[in-house]
């Protein structure tokens, strides 16, 4: 294990984090809010500490990064980044407790969007901007950003890339990992810019439109309003956000092809088809229920259904209504949706559609295999057979996910949450969604969770964001054996 290269890259991550922290000051100055010293001190000291570590270890610059170092850099990097990211909130006093500030920051970086704030609108503008900025940095991934702008990472970049963007298939946009990272961040910036313009057109001010674009494209879910998107009472804004939540939950490789004129690549991809039709079916059936059983108007019933379902599925977590109030049955329906996730290669969290699709197909094919025991029957994805070891990987992932979900829920129940809230909170944090059910549902927040629970949930968010293995591998004994 080469400690120097690990520190070298973490130093660079801090440098970036500090720089992003300072961006909030622009809005503090514009609105005259009182958080300039907090942001300035924490931003500059993060930059200085990062710079010192970076410079002190610069001889490690050209060493190759091994797989194991890659996992360690990414996990440690994310934790350290969250520690530094929490400083402005504590320094200003807006979130005085360390547990709460860390929870809020981790929730931001992992694009969960679970908040402990009871009154968001009383927060100063600079801090609110930093809070949304954590989403944006974490959505596409700070490691990926470093790979894109730091040419020296060309050597070990791939190891870091696989640790931060694990996924199922390795679809690289370019043979060079740096070029892939640049393209992915490029699409990310374009999507964010487009959405911000549309939200401006819908009547938001610049500050709100930027914060909500960060929250949508990163599939995060922090809003600048207590009532989330419901505060605007604007169907146009809701539709814009619906569309961008779907786009952000789509594999970015497909966006890249579309940017190059190949629009049909969306419906050539099995996962996208699965994702899209799943959304359509769930949205339409819930909309029909709302229209006929709750006698809602057709348009608003459809809009509420679409917004809630897509917000949860894409793991964003913005809210316009309390879906649990529709009928008791919807607690259960949304708990299931919390476990789904969107596409692989997107900024969303959760188990993700490709894994569900493969597992589902594999289980059904087992019936066929029982009837024809000698036949070799494989699961196909985009007309290609999926090899055995990939299926085994996917299944191990789904299983670990369910084990962590079950163990986490049990733990939260022991800590005193009622069963529904416990399951909802763990599903929402593991899937990086944000609002869960019951006391952690869309119209409440995580403030009431006991402090041990907040730490457990912070850990679960990180597990979910780095797709379990990157974090778990560090806890396994075989990782440390040389």
């Amino acid at each position: 294990m080469n400690i120097k290269i690990i520190l070298h890259i973490i130093g660079f991550l801090l440098l970036l984090t500090g720089f992003f922290m300072l961006t909030g000051i622009l809005f503090s100055i514009y609105y005259g809010s009182n958080d300039i010293p907090a942001l300035l001190i924490s931003g500059l000291s993060t930059i200085i500490i990062g710079l010192i570590i970076w410079r002190a270890t610069k001889e490690a610059r050209y060493t190759e990064i091994s797989k194991r170092e890659g996992y360690l850099i990414v996990t440690a990097g994310w934790i350290i980044m969250s520690l530094f990211g929490a400083v402005p909130f504590m320094l200003h006093g807006a979130i005085p407790k360390f547990t709460n500030a860390f929870f809020e920051t981790m929730s931001g970086f992992t694009t969960t969007g679970a908040s402990i704030l009871t009154d968001i609108e009383s927060m100063p503008y600079g801090l609110l901007f930093w809070r949304s900025m954590t989403h944006w940095i974490g959505g596409m991934g700070i490691i990926l950003l470093s790979i894109a702008i730091l040419p020296i990472l060309g050597i070990g970049g791939m190891q870091l890339y696989t640790a931060e963007v694990p996924g199922v298939t390795k679809d690289k946009l370019h043979p060079r990992v740096q070029e892939t990272a640049k393209r992915l961040w490029g699409i990310y910036v374009i999507l964010t810019g487009l959405e911000a313009i549309l939200l401006l057109a819908g009547g938001m001010n610049l500050f709100d439109s930027l914060c909500h674009s960060f929250g949508t494209v990163a599939t995060g879910g922090f809003s600048t309003k207590n009532a989330s998107i419901a505060a605007y009472q604007s169907p146009f804004i809701e539709y814009v956000i619906i569309v961008f939540m779907i786009l952000s939950g789509t594999n970015f490789t497909l966006h890249y092809h579309a940017l190059h004129g190949k629009f049909n690549s969306y419906f050539k991809d099995d996962e996208f088809k699965f994702y899209f039709f799943f959304i359509v079916i769930v949205v339409v059936s819930i909309a029909l229920y709302l229209i006929f059983s709750n006698s809602r108007a057709v348009e608003s019933g459809f809009r509420d259904s679409a917004f809630s379902v897509i917000s949860i599925l894409s793991s964003t977590g913005f809210a316009t209504v309390n879906y649990e109030a529709w009928a008791p049955f919807f607690s259960l329906a949304f708990l299931l949706l919390l476990l789904f996730g969107a596409s692989t290669g997107s900024t969303s969290g959760g188990i993700k559609m490709l894994r569900h699709m493969v597992m589902f197909k594999n289980s059904l094919l087992e019936l066929k295999r029982l009837i024809h025991p000698q036949a070799v029957i494989t699961v196909k994805y985009n007309d290609k057979s999926i090899p055995h070891d990939v299926i085994s990987k996917i299944s191990a992932f789904v299983l670990l996910y369910l084990i962590i979900f079950a163990a986490g829920s049990a733990l939260m129940a022991v800590l005193g949450l009622e069963i529904k809230s416990a399951m909802g909170a763990v599903a929402a944090c593991l899937g990086n969604i944000g609002p869960g059910l019951g006391s952690t549902g869309p119209v409440s927040n995580y403030n009431e969770v006991p402090w041990i629970g907040k730490w457990v949930l912070s850990f679960i968010m990180l597990l979910g964001r780095l797709e379990l293995y990157t974090v778990l591998i560090i806890l396994s004994p075989s990782f440390w054996k040389s």
Partner: protein, 151 residues
Amino acid sequence: MIFFILLFFGGCAGSTGGGIKSIRHLLLYKNSVLELKRLVHPRAIIPVRINERAISPEIINNVLAFFLLYILIFVFGSVVMSLLGLDFITAFGSVATCLGNVGPGMGTVGPISNFAHLPDAGKWFLTFLMLLGRLELFTVLIIFSPSFWRK
């Protein structure tokens, strides 16, 4: 909550206990943990061992398919029961307990109450789930698959 998770476990394979069965949990759990080892050593072939014998990938795949179908049926069943008007905990508990051939579930079908108050459709549905669970899914499900009836 704890008892709810226990409802899924079941006894040992070859015994009369229902549920997913301990051997399946053991196998899948081992497989998941070994995946961590495989990530550290990507070229190594690391099989799952039970009683010191390596388990072939086909068997793991079969166990896996079973496990996922079980969860799928559980989830689907809970949705059906809650559509019939049961509350969150009772819907979960009643399906888990019938699928695992346990008996008492949670909530209003918990250990100190019974199933008498459920709607008729719910009783028929739970009866079907019991049969599914007892015959370990595939035996019943295979009859519903189109390839079973094809010559």
